[in-house]
Symmetry: C2
Subunit: 715 residues, 2 copies
């Protein structure tokens, strides 16, 4: 008896004193399991039930992924290290000498991330690429043809080739700074190290034939990209905050009179009876009859997109229903519902359905789901689901996306909208990121980075200090996922700068003409995971020369000699063939870096260069566009609204250069989700030695195109 | 038997499944225990063995604290909330409507912290007051006469009156932003909320008769302020990096020839045989005979202060001894010893003793113990003591301070030096913070904030773009804890700008004249915890008007109407009586805000104002100084070196205004720690109705002063 008691007492003591035996605190090599060709998963210690992919709740595109090529595991698995200590999981991935790293979220000033430190934390971008941004995506992409996703809804610290371990196999060269013969403030680092503040984490590693292939597999793993409704790719005009129905009608008339494209009108906080926080009830004075108003707009082929932020006015029916599902803190006096709780989702969805979807509202602009810290709930906040503030902060945008996506799917009606927060896993959701920032060049860099990490971004136009600036901004928004003039505060119209109005109208109509190309490009996003807008780093044949500029040793400013890397972040690809090299206000021409291969001027078809730097001369008023050799760009007549993109639309199929080319032209009903069940048509347009052909791929009843005529642009 | 087995099995299962029962996850009111008058401690859940005060390892000044006045607990204890969840401890303290909050570290652009969010994280200051700074002290001070210390060596998030709970008893007014009648982006918040990433934390709460009394109690609790050696308060010249002994001798001669004060010469990285990382061995070519060199300098009454950073060159004797005590990562190829391990401390102390202290080196300038993230060890680093990278980051400076303090104490020789990282608890250590930043106005704001949180800061001079700027910077460094020209890169001398040399010489000698006042002020720091340099917020009779400026709603820049608070951060007190209101380069005069009471011009004795704003006119070349009514400023003859501050030094005791006044004049041997055993002398200088008296307080053999003559400055 005594022995039995002694035995059990010992066991009790041992168990009480031993930490959880399944958490590995000593460094180990994670085990990887291949789930699809070129896709491996690993659970380090434990998987948090709530993570980025669980919130996004979109399964991988299995069929397509399974058709991908087999790949070898791209890194030495025994050089990948992990351990967990004191509630944090530490990860280490090896880096090779010339390896470049991309991704890690929606950065605005840098593309290549090696040598940088980021704390991936949802926030409104603050002017520095420090990880605080609208899509702090913990996915990185390597120039060696692989990518890694850290699937955690946490604030993640990433040291991208800045840390040096004492036991490194690649010790940096040892310099005496006194000797002044090569000392650097940033010695060579052979690894990427990560802190995840959790007891464990899921890792997903992707390998591919190229960086683009890696991004495709990543996007497919997260469900494939979004295919917007056709109207979403038309022009968007957001109206001033306190506009009423007759103001909006006047606005719409203005677009008719001035003959400017218009598919979507954005209504700002003024539709709410109260905003900041929001009632989600129509304001009776500004919108006395929303049902009639929406019908009226729809009859003019205008879709309505409503502004909102998710903080609910603390009075009224909606509030009374949802308040018990709210977090501990208010944002501008509004409660913060916990949308991981099904009852809360249902309440909101019912409300949206009844008040908005049923009368024909087409989508939302979801504001302030990102930051700043001083506005949103703090990290001390608690939520009824038991999730903590950090987990909510990293995923609130995604929660809003899934919540609205569900009700539009129930209606079998595609939506397209705007949001200020996205993350890994949100690639298949119909939301484009925007923000309050406005540096034009940074806006283009963001467009590039969006393509590296599975989100969409729009460089909207709001205001300008000159006609030239206005024109340049109008040009880039028309070559982005969502062409928008966001005049919520400025009240500007496309014709607000008369001296450049013709150029603005021209580029807007050019976008409309290119919609067959753009829509097919988005179909490629959906079916194959190909980012429709992407940087040169994903383009075959593009050589980035990393130029190191040493800044002077100036001890009042910058006492350590530091290298500043130049990189290409002001030109990008739209689809497979089109290189966009925008001009910015004040530019006296610009350089364009062409990848290897022949490239041609979009407007004239003329050959411009091959794997070289060319110059766009001062005074070039259009947006500089270049086409790859063999590029095929199907274009339709210039229409003002996508409602005219209908049966028998003729196509001019432009062919550039001399190489053989092919392009999958896609069509569907442009509005419903039926395409997901096969209700779409694809035809391959081919050129071969000067001969053209059209090959049927997938058949359905949906095909708006009539006559196809081919134009060989390059004589 | 079966029942016994069953019983124990049940117990085992229960224990395995139940989380640690002593960690409170539900919100509770911490219990407070009064340890000294007006000082209460609370342990929330558990105390981390390793914390800021444990590292500083300096016991409270019990005798002095016990003589402090009794205070009531200053807040409603039942409004203080705490709980721990998922490894984090959350705290909440109430705030009242007009309550202002100060402290929270070495900020450079703001003094009043309410409405701000800080993540207290050791780092080199980066230009934004976001908590990343050289002294991220988790101590805050309330205008209601209390302060709170969060004793944790962690990255601490503090929301200073920005968060609003749904159950707040002081809900902010509810505004409809659409109505445009008072909506604010920052609704009223009635609390201060904190996240400490640990399973528990110790809190120390201080109450006092005034904010100054609170700071005194805080400083006394941490051991009382440092009393520098007398030579430390003389002038410091740091020489260019690669200077050798004859360069330095020339420099010293230059100070004699140009008749400029000089007590300390700073030697930069060039004394090391190799630096970045450091060998801690004298370079044989530049310093062939360091013993002789140091003797030679000492004979000229010059003290030597050596630059270092703590990262050790990975070759040689020192490295071989200490390498097994180093962390997992290198900094500039140097290892990072874990100085919480006694063996590591001993090795370094022995090395310093043998190579440096024994030959007469007087102190150190400890560089790069703060940041940046890209230089120092990352948060993934591990250390042999088991402490994590975060704990080491928050305290490495303090570890270096205690390590060197011990060996100087063993030698019974006071040191004074510079460092880039300090924290709560380091108040008694002889180190002044400096950095690579250089904005002059921000330098003065830092001086103010240092006084609010128990550290010292010097606005050093390095270079300038004009004589005027040079002069203004020289003026403020001479009215700071450590007057220094840090010419490590610029090679400047005080006379580098001939057109302002006389003004520079004048202010440097003025400092020397005022050393009896300044040294006594530091004694007050040591004995009573009174910060020698402090902001107007600690000054009785100073009314801060919080001016709210609304910035325009400009949607391209700043779309939300935000309030910008104006505060007084460019004038400060040196000691009890002297108000310093510096001029900055380009100033055309300046405003000075005088507290209530009569104030007098230091130079002329004339009355200038009472509780009002006065104007210093354009063209005022000296540094504007003002003296409180009844102010007593003992001054000695202008000496070049403190070695001349010796027996029979006459004093001119200046009296300002008409009120009665008193001042405790302090003296000791100026060099050893014997004063801590009572070997010091204090006399009270008093004026009463125009009559003067000198009252002996504490007697010892140490008294350098001879004749005392009184000058009534105000006629």
């Amino acid at each position: 008896m005594k022995q039995v008691i002694f035995f059990f007492t010992t066991v009790i003591l041992l168990i009480s004193c031993t930490p959880n035996p399944t958490i590995k605190t000593e460094s180990f090599n994670p085990e990887w399991h291949e789930t699809f060709p070129g896709v491996w998963n690993s659970i380090v210690n434990q998987l948090e039930d709530f993570n980025l992919l669980s919130v996004a709740n979109k399964p991988p595109r299995k069929e397509t992924l399974n058709q991908k090529s087999e790949q070898e595991f791209p890194i030495s698995a025994n050089e990948i290290q992990a351990f967990t200590k004191n509630g944090k999981t530490f990860l280490r991935f090896p880096l090779e000498k010339e390896e470049q790293i991309y991704g890690l979220g929606l950065n605005y000033k840098t593309v290549q991330q090696r040598g940088r430190i980021l704390r991936l934390h949802m926030d409104h971008y603050g002017g520095t690429d420090n990880g605080r941004t609208h899509a702090p995506v913990p996915f990185y992409l390597s120039s060696k043809g692989y990518g890694v996703l850290i699937n955690a809804a946490r604030y993640i610290d990433v040291y991208v080739g800045t840390t040096v371990r004492t036991d490194t196999k690649n010790p940096p060269k040892l310099y005496d700074r006194n000797a002044r013969d090569g000392w650097t403030a940033q010695p060579y680092s052979d690894n990427l190290e990560i802190v995840v503040p959790a007891e464990g984490v899921e890792l997903v590693l992707f390998a591919g034939e190229s960086m683009l292939d890696v991004v495709q597999r990543f996007n497919l793993y997260c469900g494939g990209g979004v295919l917007p409704p056709k109207w979403g790719l038309g022009f968007w005009q957001r109206t001033p905050t306190l506009y009423n129905t007759s103001d909006i009608q006047k606005e719409v008339h203005g677009f008719v009179e001035n003959n400017f494209p218009l598919d979507v009108v954005g209504i700002e906080p003024g539709w709410h009876s109260k905003s900041y926080p929001c009632t989600f009830e129509w304001d009776k004075s500004r919108y006395p009859n929303p049902d009639e108003f929406a019908k009226n707009m729809n009859q003019q082929s205008i879709k309505l997109n409503l502004w909102m932020n998710p903080y609910i006015w603390p009075e009224g029916e909606l509030y009374e229903k949802i308040k018990s599902y709210a977090g501990s803190h208010t944002v501008w006096n509004g409660i913060v519902p916990d949308y991981t709780i099904p009852e809360a989702r249902n309440i909101m969805q019912e409300h949206f359905q009844t008040h908005l979807l049923d009368i024909g509202i087409s989508g939302f602009k979801m504001d302030e789901v990102d930051g700043y810290d001083r506005w949103l709930w703090p990290d001390v906040a608690t939520f009824p689901s038991g999730l903590d503030a950090e987990q909510m902060r990293q995923t609130y945008g995604t929660q809003m996306m899934t919540l609205t996506d569900e009700i539009y799917r129930k209606k079998n009606e595609r939506t397209y909208g705007l949001i200020r927060a996205a993350n890994a896993g949100s690639v298949s959701y119909p939301y484009v990121i925007y923000n309050d920032y406005y540096n034009h060049k940074d806006f283009i860099t963001a467009l590039i980075n969006a393509g590296n990490c599975g989100v969409l971004w729009t460089p909207e136009v709001r205001s300008s200090r000159s006609g030239e600036e206005w024109m340049r901004r109008m040009q880039t928004t028309c070559f982005s996922p969502l062409a928008m003039l966001n005049a919520w505060a400025s009240g500007t119209k496309p014709w607000s700068y008369p001296d450049v109005y013709e150029e603005c109208r021209e580029v807007a109509f050019l976008r409309m003409q290119m919609l067959p190309y753009l829509y097919s490009t988005f179909a490629d996003y959906h079916f194959n995971g190909t980012p429709p807008f992407r940087g040169m780093n994903l383009e075959e044949g593009f050589e980035t020369t990393v130029d190191i500029e040493e800044s002077k040793l100036d001890e009042t400013q910058n006492p350590y000699a530091e290298a500043v890397k130049k990189e290409v972040k002001d030109q990008y690809m739209m689809g497979d063939f089109l290189l966009v090299a925008p001009l910015f206000n004040g530019d006296e021409g610009r350089q364009v870096i062409l990848p290897k291969g022949n490239w041609y001027d979009f407007y004239t078809g003329k050959f411009v260069g091959n794997g070289e730097i060319i110059q766009v001369e001062k005074g070039f008023e259009r947006i500089p566009l270049f086409v790859k050799d063999g590029g095929i760009i199907p274009m339709m007549p210039a229409i003002r609204q996508t409602s005219d993109w209908k049966e028998d639309t003729p196509l001019e199929i432009r062919v550039y250069g001399e190489a053989n080319g092919s392009f999958v032209l896609y069509d569907d009903d442009g509005a419903t989700f039926d395409f997901e069940k096969g209700e779409y048509t694809t035809k391959m347009l081919k050129t071969e030695n000067g001969n053209v052909s059209v090959l049927d791929l997938h058949q359905s009843e949906n095909w708006v195109y009539g006559d196809l005529s081919w134009t060989f642009m390059t004589k």
